[in-house]
Symmetry: D5
Subunit: 148 residues, 10 copies
Amino acid sequence: MSGTFLSKSEITNLLVQAKQERKISFEELGKAIGRDEVAVAAIFYGQHHASPEDIAGLSKALGLNEDQLSYQLSNFPDRGSDVQMPPKEPLIYRLYEIVQNYGQAYKAVMNEKFGDGIMSAIAFSTKVDKEVDEHGNTWVNISMRGKW
Amino acid sequence: MSGTFLSKSEITNLLVQAKQERKISFEELGKAIGRDEVAVAAIFYGQHHASPEDIAGLSKALGLNEDQLSYQLSNFPDRGSDVQMPPKEPLIYRLYEIVQNYGQAYKAVMNEKFGDGIMSAIAFSTKVDKEVDEHGNTWVNISMRGKW
Amino acid sequence: MSGTFLSKSEITNLLVQAKQERKISFEELGKAIGRDEVAVAAIFYGQHHASPEDIAGLSKALGLNEDQLSYQLSNFPDRGSDVQMPPKEPLIYRLYEIVQNYGQAYKAVMNEKFGDGIMSAIAFSTKVDKEVDEHGNTWVNISMRGKW
Amino acid sequence: MSGTFLSKSEITNLLVQAKQERKISFEELGKAIGRDEVAVAAIFYGQHHASPEDIAGLSKALGLNEDQLSYQLSNFPDRGSDVQMPPKEPLIYRLYEIVQNYGQAYKAVMNEKFGDGIMSAIAFSTKVDKEVDEHGNTWVNISMRGKW
Amino acid sequence: MSGTFLSKSEITNLLVQAKQERKISFEELGKAIGRDEVAVAAIFYGQHHASPEDIAGLSKALGLNEDQLSYQLSNFPDRGSDVQMPPKEPLIYRLYEIVQNYGQAYKAVMNEKFGDGIMSAIAFSTKVDKEVDEHGNTWVNISMRGKW
Amino acid sequence: MSGTFLSKSEITNLLVQAKQERKISFEELGKAIGRDEVAVAAIFYGQHHASPEDIAGLSKALGLNEDQLSYQLSNFPDRGSDVQMPPKEPLIYRLYEIVQNYGQAYKAVMNEKFGDGIMSAIAFSTKVDKEVDEHGNTWVNISMRGKW
Amino acid sequence: MSGTFLSKSEITNLLVQAKQERKISFEELGKAIGRDEVAVAAIFYGQHHASPEDIAGLSKALGLNEDQLSYQLSNFPDRGSDVQMPPKEPLIYRLYEIVQNYGQAYKAVMNEKFGDGIMSAIAFSTKVDKEVDEHGNTWVNISMRGKW
Amino acid sequence: MSGTFLSKSEITNLLVQAKQERKISFEELGKAIGRDEVAVAAIFYGQHHASPEDIAGLSKALGLNEDQLSYQLSNFPDRGSDVQMPPKEPLIYRLYEIVQNYGQAYKAVMNEKFGDGIMSAIAFSTKVDKEVDEHGNTWVNISMRGKW
Amino acid sequence: MSGTFLSKSEITNLLVQAKQERKISFEELGKAIGRDEVAVAAIFYGQHHASPEDIAGLSKALGLNEDQLSYQLSNFPDRGSDVQMPPKEPLIYRLYEIVQNYGQAYKAVMNEKFGDGIMSAIAFSTKVDKEVDEHGNTWVNISMRGKW
Amino acid sequence: MSGTFLSKSEITNLLVQAKQERKISFEELGKAIGRDEVAVAAIFYGQHHASPEDIAGLSKALGLNEDQLSYQLSNFPDRGSDVQMPPKEPLIYRLYEIVQNYGQAYKAVMNEKFGDGIMSAIAFSTKVDKEVDEHGNTWVNISMRGKW
């Protein structure tokens, strides 16, 4: 299998278009390949290395040629190059704002609880859950788990 | 009660020094005033508005003059002005890196789960928990809960 | 319906060209689809999510294929990515200058009137009205309404 | 009357401390000197030129020496130098975000309504009002009026 | 008349190429359409709104299709987006340097002469004249006239 | 004569305070030392080298010790270090905006009129004049003259 | 041999694609042309000048036309233009973080050991080795050697 | 033990002055406290957490009060906040330049050797060695060892 | 002669390719057209205005169509827009570093030798010479000559 | 000898004040200590390591205490941290502009003359000479000599 490499945003577009035509959600894709939905989305945006099993599963679920997808995803991901910082997108900005406002508090509490060190952003997993409280308000719950 | 306002970092130093001399942890302070430890640290760094009850509790726990503390904390917080972005501090950088790398994935999954909108960074709470897995590895668990 | 996604500026061009050929104003478009004219312009520039009704109305008013428009506008908007900050465009710069000069005053007054918190830029609507005063001078009136 | 000029932030501190000791609101100050409350706050932050009448009124209301205040406020204001852009403060950031997201829509609608030109940020006035809707939700209403 | 909009730099190229082929100067163009030569150049670079009369005159003088030019210039100009600041081009940098070095002096003198306010950059005209002094040295004279 | 050098802003403050106490205008200072008022202001802000005659004249007009002033102004000026770019001050921003919007037009016209080269910002003089037109509107006229 | 020059990233893509199709590693390429593997990768990314021998060896190993490769690589490299700083890619960021955190310590130790001077980044070689410790943990060993 | 916290640069100055008065090298300090000399320098610049043993050893070797040093070094380090990036200091810039030029090559080789992942900059040690080659040229050898 | 203008980098590529195919050096080109080799290179990179004689000479030496080259080079150069600052290219960075490190020393010495003023970067010429010293070391000698 | 280290700008002020009181030029200082005048100025601004002989000579020529000066200059210089880039000072900006405009031309000519490599900015010397041409015009001649 050979040919020109697609750029990261071209690969994202390829995957998003296939997903949209199949009307399949990240949650369904996650179930289809045995991964959390955020991890699937992270593969879409070039932030996760896709294993051969991931590629096989995604090809099948999205109706894409497995050889072609494998060829395009075969390089190790060049993570992190797509979001402009500070983010202009309001939803992503809110996450950025949390780091800006709570960064020192997180550090102070973590150092107190764990001693000197850092939380890994690579040996790391994350989930997003939806909660509706008793007043009918919707809340986002983000869980992050990183190795110390 | 009157006098010159301390700058935000002077207030932080005042609180950190008192905490260090009393050898009291954020967790203990949190219990003393009925707040999560991250929220206490956020007050230390000027990111949370301290209620009169918070101020009374902190004054007592830290051995600080309540009137003086109340006067200094009486303005609404000028949040977010202390962390330089991108953060140079490695631990805070890791949180920033998560936003940079997972920002689009979070947005894609949240839009799919919740529709159009954002997660609030103000109507928001967060916790840090420590986990030791079966291999003895330590993991940080961060939970964030924000209104949609 | 399938095909390559247009970039945000390509969609803007598509809509602006159709509007210009039809010689239809934002005000007329707003009336046609039951939205304020600023909201219509915000859809043109990718800052508002267009509902199926919005898309149906715009397609009709602008003579565009509804399926194609729906396909292109079906993703949740990636808001905020088009204006370079600080704005070089003089009219937009004046709005930016208002934030720069009055930002602290707005914050001080809002905190005093509303307590601690923020005004939402998402649960938000805005209007632009024209006023001619008794001396014949023209004034712009901008109204913004955001949830606290 | 002579002496060293205070810096802008020292003048702000002087005024805020006096206001806080007197427990007087911007609204009350505004009524005392016949100005809108946002304009009063703008004088506090060095964004408005204070007229001799403003200075006389503020001195009286805040219990400050009029000669001293007049000397310190006698220079024309060096507007706009205090808010760091993009703003890190969440409330001010929301206003900035409105400009970023709606800037092109405002320009498109204003050009259509008013022709070529700009809205002045100097021949300009603004107000902040509080609204509680039928569901008990609080809304901020900002009105801006600028000469075209 | 319809079709794809040219970008601002494509329009500039279109006009500059026509001007170059016709070997016509800005001064001659200015006389042809009854505008100052700097204003003509500003239209070329997308900084002035071209009236129907301007477009008719330029089409004739430059041998361009009037309908096509009108269609391309029909949008209100997105002023100011083309010069990178600080300017790398030496001649434009010299003008920037004047603002940097003399900015405070201009402000101090204008405030003293005119009171509080600003000079408009929109209700504004400017000219460039050539002077040869008695020693044979060439001088540039720039005149700017802006509404206070 | 010896001692610690004042910083540039301390020298500015020294001069501005003396000017304010004497209630003398830049225009009057200019006449007193035989210089244009903008040049006087430029000396105040450290943008012009002050000759011994300038220093003698200013000392006399402002009631400052000539030896002390001479010692402080004896270094060659470190021009241009005080205005933050882009300027946040609205009046100075308007001048900056003129360069941004008209920069290419000025260059195009100057190259056409003068050939290849630049206008000096050093061998340069400038004046500010006030004009009231027949409708009672006030206009600022800035003249700049720079060697080619 | 003639034709259009490829851009640096096009040359990188050309080489990476050939390498991937041949399933040949940097280590194997290094052995094939008598160079360290990091040096080979640096040629791929336009950071090393490729000698005629390097080009001959790479052409053969990668199955590329030697004349064409020679033509494209014949210019002296425009080093350093491809990594955005600060790096968004997490692995490269970690190296950047080492410089940020240890920079002063390196300087202090080097000045003490070597006196005043610098370590060359041009007369420089580097290697990457893999180490597995007694607990089965993998470590990266980077060696850098630069002329003082 | 209590009192005002010194800033990071004040602590650095305190340590550097003591070291200079004692005429003791980083190498000697390293031997005295059983640490590599680069690690000692990193403690001086606030980039390493100093253990109680480190503090005891440094106090003794440098003739500083152990209680005072312990109090000042008792907070977890706020790493990385002192080097301005890009570094203006030539020696540190050379290290930065290595990351800029070799970053992609390091990543490519490491991904090939180690698979997907990163090298830790925290579980990390480093050494600097001096080499004189057969021609009398001096070379710096930097070794870095980070966990994968 | 007419047609689309090439961009500056396209003109550079055109000239570099012709030079490379003809295997002609800047020094030879300089002799062919009676210009210093640095000036020739500066024309290649769009930093010098090419006179009709320069264009005639270059066309002949490089085998390019004179009319076409004249048309493309007929605009006055938009100098300085191609090097990203700070330069990432190591050789150009070294020159930048000289300005950064020696800038104040140059200014201090020039002011002392020449009085107040500047050295022109426009009325300016420069040369590069090669020197081999008695130890066989190669040195670069750069001479710059600018009008005061 | 001990005490608090002066900052780099405090050392510069100390030296400049002594030089000014003694009315001694850089040229005279250079002759007094056997160094070029630019090198002397570079020591004043913290860009050169001062040898014990330099310190002895400067102390004598400037009437400063040698022990004190030695103590303050005993650290290796933290070069390059004082000029803000891009430089706002017009004279230093002209040197910066030369790098910006001629950078690529210098690189192209040096690569052609010297092959691949760089010119050192550390193994480097420089001189400034004054020339008056036959028309009475003054020219600055800068010579730079750096190892290849």
